[in-house]
Symmetry: none
Subunit: 263 residues, 2 copies
DNA sequence: CTATGCATGTCGATA
DNA sequence: TATCGACGTGCATAG
């Protein structure tokens, strides 16, 4: 066992000895890494079985569990934060880790017959994470500076009138035509066009002058003709410009959205 | 440096010394774990910044990159498989890791000013992963909800009439055409198609309107054209949906995986 | 609590 | 390669 200020390494620990180490690490909310030969069963919304093989199991401070194979961005099996972690010695030689989620009821069972490396990390991390432009940011930017849509565009917004998922922005152009703006943070796909069309369609029967504009940083391939055929419009928006506008209006708020201090 | 058959541990390695270790691990397609104090910038579809703090960076065999904080199921920053990994010494004292994805163009930059622990794992893992419900479960689900096959499909089944190995489900579609359903738990292979064809062939002589449908969670590569040529159909079935249907109907045991701890 | 929509979604299959 | 749909999606937010 190697001890350092912020980590402990247990090479080739026996399953029996690992019990205390793991329970202790979970209790102390450390980050636990377990590499070894294991077999995994999951039962819950679906069911899965993972045959024997060497993997890396990560149990984090919030008791989220990730089982990683040697490839793939996604863990092959997992349990979200807050689950119950149980450990048990099976047949006196194997280590069983059970991670149970209550809502929905899901159980994950990991059985190790060999542990190559157990590591405990105590990560001190208070750094703020900030993601620069979200759909909400774009919306705010447009509200702050409607000319981003076009000259003399005005937003007519009653916040209560805007349930999420419905219209992003409702406004009026310089000729007084009503305008429905749909914001996309990424590339405009067919679905977004259909969605906007769905909003415009019923309204255009009472007012044919209504316009629909999709605002996004990028237009997907082949989407332009679709927009044209549906008489909808596209306005490209620049992420950096949004960030600038937000920063200028209320400099302190820019990085407020995603701050999550950790310890 | 501790060496074992399938892992290497480098406690408190200097950024300078880590360069070779990391490059070598990436070249050899090992799984690389780097714990230390770092700062992260991401620029691509969006942009993000993560201030200084201690995290665990995982670079997997397929060059996917995951940056994990002490909490959260999801990595705070990441790069999907296949990206380019570059390492660099900054100011002679800091380690910069750059992970670049080409399509879409995205860059991830991790700057370490301190490495607490670098680990290299060589995970041998040939175990099969299967997300599934049993063939029996699928059959039950379809009996309980025939619309899983298609709208207005009806099962015409006498349980005793169904010797195993013959027809899985016999039914009628909304136009009154007889339908033979073959269920596969896993990926549909050529043999399953041949098998179903074997059932349909003789019957279609007396009734050319008979249909054959293979129900499975997955269609093998190149099987679609084969099905088409034999005028057979494929209906994808979702394991999760089956599990839900079964669970809702009553507590039927979906599986009994964990009776055998080891083989 | 459920319901809804976004995501650097990821991942796979298909044209 | 771009598009499309599914996912144990996860996740936040609204009602």
């Amino acid at each position: 066992m190697l001890q350092k200020t912020n980590f402990f390494v247990y090479p080739n620990i026996t399953p029996k000895d690992s019990l205390f180490v793991i329970q202790n690490a979970v209790a102390k909310q450390s980050v636990l890494l377990i590499a070894g030969n294991c077999h995994v069963n999951y039962e819950g919304r679906a069911s899965s079985k993972l045959d024997w093989g060497e993997r890396l199991v990560m149990i984090k401070s919030d008791r989220s569990v990730l089982i990683h194979r040697s490839t793939g961005y996604e863990p092959v099996n997992w349990q979200p934060p807050g689950c119950i972690i149980q450990t048990e010695l099976v047949n006196g030689i194997d280590l069983k880790i059970r991670a149970i989620r209550s809502q929905p009821r899901e159980t994950l069972e990991i059985l190790f017959d060999e542990l190559s490396l157990v590591t405990i990390l105590n990560l001190v991390d208070k750094g703020a994470f900030s993601l620069y432009v979200s759909e909400e940011d774009i919306k705010k930017s447009i509200m702050l500076r409607p000319s981003l849509i076009e000259e003399n565009f005005r937003c007519i917004i009653d916040e209560k009138m805007q349930p999420t998922g419905f219209i992003d922005i409702f406004g009026v152009d310089e000729k007084g035509n009503p305008v429905i703006v749909e914001i996309k943070r990424g590339t405009v796909r067919k679905e977004a066009v259909i969605q906007l069309r769905g909003y415009i369609e019923p309204l255009s029967k009472t007012n044919p002058r209504i316009r629909g504009i999709i605002v996004a940083p990028k237009l997907g391939k082949g989407i332009k003709p679709l927009l044209d055929s549906m008489k909808l419009e596209y306005k490209r928006i620049n992420a950096k410009k949004c960030a600038e506008i937000l920063k200028r209006s209320e400099g302190s708020k820019i990085s407020d959205f995603f701050t999550k201090p950790k310890s």
